[in-house]
């Protein structure tokens, strides 16, 4: 750790170098300054990228719960069928919520 000690020694040159490096790294990571909001486009990419997986996850979750209920109550095809459909509807609602959330911020900016 002697390297760290030397680097953090208080010569103004080192200080400037550190500041410059920090600024460069910040600009590289996408205009992140203290008082600035995170770029909403990155956030929206994050939200929208999840939509296909939400569509897949809804029926899967519904099917698994339905399978468990069918085993518990012996209602063989109905639990799976109804809950898979409900899962699909829930995934549509989730997607609508996510899109609302993504577009809400874009409208503000």
């Amino acid at each position: 750790m002697s390297f760290l000690k030397i680097r953090s020694g208080s010569s103004s040159n080192l200080n400037n170098n550190n500041n410059l490096r920090l600024t460069l790294a910040r600009s590289f990571l996408g205009n992140l300054k203290n008082d600035e909001k995170f770029d909403p486009r990155i956030r929206n990419v994050g939200i929208l990228i999840t939509i296909p997986m939400v569509f897949a996850a809804g029926p899967i979750v519904g099917f698994l719960i339905g399978y468990w209920l069918d085993q518990k109550f012996g209602s063989d095809p109905w639990g799976k069928t109804i809950l898979s459909l409900l899962g699909f509807v829930a995934s549509i609602r989730q997607v609508v919520e996510l899109i609302k959330d993504a577009t809400k911020d874009t409208n503000h900016d």
Partner: protein, 275 residues
């Protein structure tokens, strides 16, 4: 003959093993190699069975040691390690407060830890001898369950237990809203369960895909030189390392970003906005 040699060479050198997924191969890690050599030792068998946990713990210990050294001697003029960590924490504070406003600052430690931990785990797949634990569904489901309980806990803490149930019923305000409760309630519960499922499936699928792709190209690189019995192959997997670094970062970011959004949806004012 050549075909046979090529096949065995690819099989040996890539030393890939089927990780409970038929047909999908991943690169060998040090535990696989130890298991090949000392197959009869019970401890090695346990290590082999729990390899994802071992690599997850490796990532956790790595981060603990890194944080320890970075914060051991804090100074106003930061050293390189402190500088990098400060930058990461600051960036995450900006991300979370950008989405949730100033009240999001309370959730920065959890979300930043998620990001850094997942990023480390994803990048472990690129280090020879290590494996990305996130290429196993068990790891990603574990992470997603953490997020699920954290989000529900925040929902109960911030809204109160009745407010939380009111939120699950779709926040009904009028008579039509209350009539729709029997439909809205199970749908909302399913929606809450979809969140961890989609989080875990996406992370697992992407990382497993990347690892399998790299393993396939390592095999291809060895196959391409097997006709001269070369012990090493062409580094055909190199471009996919870069792709894997990009996608690993994106997936870690998306995981923490969505966790932030799920937390923000659970907070009282957002619940009214989205209702």
């Amino acid at each position: 003959m050549i075909e046979e040699t090529a096949h065995s060479a690819a099989h040996k050198a890539a030393a890939s093993h089927e990780a409970a997924h038929e047909g999908l191969k991943e690169l060998a890690n040090w535990i696989t190699l130890v298991n090949e050599r000392w197959h009869d030792v019970p401890f090695v068998n346990v290590l082999h069975q729990w390899e994802n946990v071992v690599f997850s713990l490796t990532a956790a210990f790595f981060l603990i040691i890194l944080s320890f050294f970075a914060t051991r001697k804090k100074s106003l003029i930061p050293g390189p390690l402190q500088n990098v960590l400060e930058l990461a924490v600051e960036s995450f504070e900006n991300l979370v407060t950008g989405i949730m406003g100033p009240r999001g600052r309370a959730y920065v430690p959890f979300i930043a830890t998620l990001f850094i931990y997942i990023l480390t785990q994803n990048f472990m797949g690129l280090v020879p001898g290590l494996k990305a634990p996130t290429s196993s569904l068990n790891t990603t489901v574990g992470l997603a369950i953490c997020v699920f309980f954290y989000v529900q806990g925040i929902g109960i803490k911030q809204n109160g237990i009745f407010g939380y149930i009111h939120h699950l019923m779709g926040s009904p305000h009028d008579i039509v809203g209350w009539i729709m409760v029997p439909l809205n309630f199970p749908l909302h519960i399913l929606q809450e369960l979809i969140k961890p499922m989609s989080l875990s499936l996406r992370l697992f699928g992407n990382i497993l895909g990347e690892d399998s792709l790299i393993a396939a190209f390592v095999g291809l690189g060895i196959l391409s030189l097997s006709f001269i019995h070369s012990p090493i192959g062409l580094p055909l997997q190199f471009p996919f390392f870069l792709l894997s670094m990009l996608l690993g970062t994106i997936q870690a970011l998306v995981f923490s970003l969505l966790s932030t959004i799920y937390i923000s949806l659970m907070l009282p004012s957002s619940a009214h906005e989205t209702a």
